[in-house]
Point group: C2
Chain length 456, copies 2
């Protein structure tokens, strides 16, 4: 018999990992809800007509496609076969797995446009699937946690996202992070200022690599992309923002880009956004205005956000921005919105590496009750019910086994307290409670076990 395996790029999450993941999910969900975002879930499968063409050619390739049910090959001809995999696919597959949460959200908004209160604030926490080549930290199934508000272009929403990012990080216990902010209009203004108007696309593709390949190679890439030496010289100020405060950065940008009205608008938007966040009482702001931040630009039209944890070399744990045409592909143009996405898998990796999970996060059962014989069960069973009634996770060891085996079980499950019940305990009603961390044992009356455990 062949040993079972997992499909590559996928993972099981066992109890300890799951509890830590649930801590992350619960924290993000609670924060989203406090900010007035409402839950949404969409199906794992979408029609390929909904998904195809939304993520570029590479994305189309990376979609997991579902084979049609029934006799899918019945009407195929040899010509279909010879046309190749790409042309064959739509003949045998109509559905694909969700690739992100943004396109299904846009599809939902369009399908429910007449019933949604606008502005519509939704959050969504679900897995997505990509047929990427699996590698360290990159999986074929992973969770995204998105919050978006659509139907308004108020900068209050950008300010709220800044507040919410700080709140999520604080609630997770991730105090050391950097929230990088930029604005598409500043990138467009830079392109104007260096005499390459409209070229912020290729410009940002190159400068996006600054962290990885360094300034010289970025400039080489720009030369290859047709940027003149004059343009490259004019770009110089871009590399001088590194240690400037947010206020200084905005002043420097305004002065450098004073000829571009687009850039001035971008600077003004950033300024107002930060003012609103301050007005709302933002504390310990960990904001870095980074005019090189582009996040591939994709569909962003205004603010661009990215969050990295300090002190670890793990990529960004969150990113987002403002877009103006999310639903355009589904026939509903001009709907402005702004959103943020948290990557649970990366947050987990950071928290695990930096040991940030609160003590006990991975812990489940608090009390294991160990009856030595059938009589002892008469004490064990009412006790377990008592404990559960006051929300203490508890269990009775189900078999009559050797004490060592039962204590090993408690240790393997990291259960902190074991209640031992033998004939003496049954007679006296004084139960033996063992602290599995210290090894200490003491006698406690049955009625007092719950309060004893709760106090610790």
């Amino acid at each position: 018999m062949q040993k079972p395996t997992l499909p590559k790029g996928t993972r099981d999450f066992g109890p300890e990992q799951m509890r830590k993941r649930l801590f992350i999910f619960d924290t993000i969900r609670q924060t989203f809800q406090r900010f007035g975002f409402q839950p949404l879930e969409t199906p794992s499968m979408e029609n390929l007509s909904t998904l195809m063409g939304k993520y570029g050619d590479e994305g189309d390739q990376l979609l997991f496609k579902i084979l049609n049910s029934g006799d899918f090959a019945g009407s195929l001809t040899e010509a279909d076969l010879q046309a190749g995999s790409k042309k064959l696919t739509p003949k045998i597959s109509e559905k694909g797995l969700r690739y992100d949460l943004t396109v299904p959200f846009a599809r939902y908004v369009v399908m429910n446009r007449n019933n949604l209160p606008m502005p519509f604030k939704r959050y969504q926490m679900q897995p997505v699937w990509r047929a990427d080549r699996p590698q360290r930290g990159r999986y074929r199934e992973f969770y995204q946690c998105d919050a978006d508000v659509v139907g308004t272009d108020s900068l209050l929403c950008e300010a709220e996202i800044i507040l919410m990012i700080h709140e999520v990080m604080r609630n997770l216990g991730m105090q050391h992070f950097t929230l990088k902010i930029n604005n598409r209009k500043i990138l467009a203004g830079i392109a104007e200022a260096i005499g390459m108007p409209g070229q912020e696309g290729p410009l940002s593709v190159a400068i996006d690599k600054l962290d990885k390949i360094g300034k010289d190679k970025v400039l080489d890439e720009l030369r290859e992309r047709g940027f003149s030496e004059e343009a490259i010289t004019k770009l110089e100020p871009l590399f001088g923002f590194d240690n400037a405060s947010t206020a200084d950065t905005l002043t420097m940008l305004a002065s450098w880009l004073d000829a571009s009205t687009t850039a001035q608008q971008g600077v003004a938007e950033l300024q107002e956004t930060l003012q609103l966040a301050t007005m709302a009482g933002l504390e310990n702001a960990q904001i870095d205005i980074d005019p090189t931040l582009a996040r591939g630009l994709s569909y962003y039209t205004g603010a661009i956000f990215e969050v990295k944890a300090n002190g670890v070399s793990i990529g960004s744990i969150s990113g987002g921005g403002r877009y103006d045409n999310l639903t355009g592909a589904f026939g509903m143009p001009g709907l402005s919105g702004v959103g943020i996405s948290f990557g649970v898998d990366r947050i987990y990796d950071v928290m695990d590496e930096l040991n940030l999970f609160p003590a006990g996060t991975g812990q489940g059962t608090q009390v294991l009750i160990v009856p030595f014989d059938a009589d002892a069960r008469g004490v064990a069973l009412p006790l377990v019910t008592q404990l559960r009634a006051v929300a203490i996770p508890a269990e009775v060891y189900p078999d009559l086994a050797k004490v060592k085996k039962m204590l090993d079980y408690a240790n393997a499950k990291q259960i902190p307290y074991v209640v031992l019940i033998g004939s003496e305990e049954v007679q006296t009603g004084q139960l033996t409670v063992k602290n599995m961390v210290t090894g200490e044992q003491q006698k406690i009356a049955q009625a007092d076990v719950a309060s004893f455990v709760r106090q610790r």
Copy 2:
């Protein structure tokens, strides 16, 4: 442009539905955890070699299969095509979507057998997918919530499942339900008693339909399946348990089936299970021992459970039982276990139909703050932060809009309180708080808004 649609048999869950679903998920998860079950999640995709052959021929047909990535058709020949869809599938698909939570659990246990503390108690709450014909109440994507304990045959586990079912129902607020219990050994004993030993399979297929088609048609079906008139006459007592108490039912079964040691063992197991549950303090037991309960028998070897809500014609909302060979198909025979599965979609339908969701379950934001101008934002923003800091979900209307529009938004989102801030409120610090249910308005100092809302 074509309007986007959903794949048939799938659903979006909007905010109100989602909040109600989250109430169900949270309640079940919390109860599972109190009983010492530990969380597990497995990937949505499994290798087809893991899934195929586990659910019968029909199940194999109903698996959603995922098209291999890349040039899947590159090596296909015309002969492959002519061999038909069934033979073609394994050449173009290696993975399928999870069909239930049981097989992935068994696969996980086998792959981690050396590291799992036994007995292993796990719960799992994830969607499953079946290419069934969609119909009312039957979907292609739906959630299962399973709790199983494997590695012990102690009847304490059966008793715990009975307790846990009662606890889940109580915590959901579903007071009126019936937990039907039977035991495979009783079904086997009945087959022996009527002179058809080993025929409990066909016997239970027929009597499973008792509720739907009535006694006469069940007997006709048995005749067709080769049961003699003598056997059918001997079966008569089976239809006389309807209004008997659990104690009477057990006595009647013991007397009717006194010649079958298997049946006596089944009766004794049921008796001990109920004693253990009583010992643990089971209150308001809603148990009905039903010797006709079979649930298709499938892999059950001992106890069989089924839960139905009273007062609605919705099928079972939960089911489970004991099995002895869950992991046998993966080369690990003889692992006994017992489990229960809750169907969230059906529980939702019952609670919705009977109006059982606690008031406010569907509610999100508690307070909408409505600033009339830019100055008012200076009051609105600190206030929203204050409210969120004490865990009151709150939001600021982001645009400067007409009051009616903002109140309509609050009503559409079922927000119970709106705080109106105009120039008078900014000057006096006395904000106008409007109760959206009663229409009542009153002036409240900014610092008192949080406690005002909390008291209500």
